[in-house]
């Protein structure tokens, strides 16, 4: 069972504001989904190696040569607020 305070902790980690109603609903839905996830324990996984990648690739290397990147103006263009050639954000505050 996921409790309200766990939901609030995880939402904080995810930088996601949830309304009170959403916190309650999320607690119930997360509990139900995680209950289904417990089905994994039906398998005996002793000694099984985890798969992090399905294609057998190792050490994909490239030449360490400089190449062009997006011009600054183009990279800034979709941003909601820019100043002095950078992204402008509110003050980080006291934290």
């Amino acid at each position: 069972m996921i409790e309200r305070d766990q939901v609030l902790h995880v939402a904080r980690l995810a930088r996601l504001r949830l309304t009170d109603d959403e916190v309650d609903r999320m607690a119930g839905e997360m509990s139900k989904i995680l209950e289904h996830v417990e089905k994994m324990s039906e398998l005996d996984l002793d000694g099984v190696e985890p798969t992090s990648h399905v294609v057998e690739l190792q050490n994909v290397l490239r030449e360490d040569a400089p190449r062009g990147s997006l011009p600054r103006a183009q990279a800034l263009d979709p941003a909601p607020d820019v100043a002095q050639g950078g992204f402008r954000v509110p003050s980080p505050g006291q934290g």
């Binding site: 996921i2 766990q6 939901v7 995880v10 939402a11 980690l13 995810a14 930088r15 996601l16 504001r17 949830l18 309304t19 959403e22 999320m26 839905e29 997360m30 139900k32 989904i33 995680l34 289904h36 996830v37 417990e38 089905k39 994994m40 324990s41 039906e42 398998l43 996984l45 099984v48 190696e49 985890p50 798969t51 992090s52 990648h53 399905v54 294609v55 690739l57 994909v60 490239r62 997006l70 183009q74 990279a75 263009d77 979709p78 941003a79 909601p80 607020d81 992204f87 954000v89 509110p90 003050s91 980080p92 505050g93 006291q94 934290g95």
Partner: protein, 464 residues
Amino acid sequence: MTDLLSLNAAAQAGLMRNGELSPREAFDFWRARAEEDELGAYLWVAEAAPEDVGDLPPVAVKDLFCVEGVPSTAGSRILEGYRPPYTATSVRNLQSAGAAVLGKTNQDEFAMGSSNENSGYGPVQNPWDRSRVPGGSSGGSAAAVAAGAAPWAIGTDTGGSIRQPAALCGIVGLKPTYGAVSRYGMIAFASSLDQCGPLTRDVTDAALLFRHLVGRDRCDSTSVEYPEPVRLPSAERLDGLSFGVWGLEEEGLDRAVADVIRGTLGTIEELGGAVEEIELPSARQGIAAYYVIAPAEASANLARYDGVRYGPRSGDGDLDAMYEQTRHDGFGDEVKRRIMIGTYALSSGYYEAYYGTAQKVRTRIAEDFRAAFKAVDFVVTPTSPTVAFELGERTADPLAMYLSDYFTVPMSLAGIAAVSIPAGLCDGLPVGLQIAGPAFSESRVLDAAHALEKAIGFEGVPRA
């Protein structure tokens, strides 16, 4: 002009190459069809053919593919108004081959969903029955092709998002082997699973589009050189090929859907193929593992939507307050759910129990398929446990929605090739058959699918 609606994309390309059809005329025809769409399949339609329109029919592109200067929101309000400064490699490859971008298609937000109801821009209706969902997450691409509002389309498949909507709309959908197609410029959902592929009217079109999509891309280090030229399918028989059937006795499978699939197994045998039942002992845990791995990766990929670099910004106060309010306002319910599940599964103290365990289940499922492909050439299953369901039917129950991908998720976790083709109708709604093969076996899978398609003779003409 020839009635383009009656031709598959490959035939149209043939006419263009022979000079019997002008690419611009073809583009304008399809542009008009896309403009007339009433199903909600499109989020944006091109205004005119590009200067350099080539001799492939134009392609409808799922919204999550970045196209330079064209709205690309992945179906999310958090990217409203975003016009990327660059184009996805897969789309660029198609443009180079001669296929212009016809439009951007509606989808579940960030490809999270199986009904297209999670789009931030409204649902899509199924052209076979407008009160039903087209499937998802590539629901707009599937509906557009099925309704004749696009000659062909691309989508992405993470746990079934090409195959399931293709099945529910009565068209062909191919999920390629992981790594076959570059993911560069695809707005990411779950990076170890996402793969771009075609949604088409028939198997030949799927092969033709796939041929132009594959290739290693230096911008995606998980992409690989496709090991052989992609062949266009020609088989009409299945002699000497064996098909391992899985899943017909599964609890959630609709009996009527199972009957249609059983009929198709009979067709396989009539064509000379051998059919046997097989077991995939760990596949039943696929959904459980998937709903750890995909949300975990999504929670990391979606951290970038914070109101700084693109999309709208909301909230006042300090930086954290801005992040939290922007994400609250911009993300829909399902995306929030997955971010929460994923963040929880990756949080301190839970990582090993959830993500670590899920990655082990993934190994077991991949081993199941390796064992199966020692005994048979292909694995066949129903694509979806049910036909298209009613709009609104499953929105209140996330888990019921997740189980729509029961038969498609195992192949995604194993990274192998799988196609869905129409197998027939059940109460007037299409049923899809899934054919899976080992990694990089697309040419063989599509050849078998081609023989079956000819024998099934599915009439893909929806009501709407």
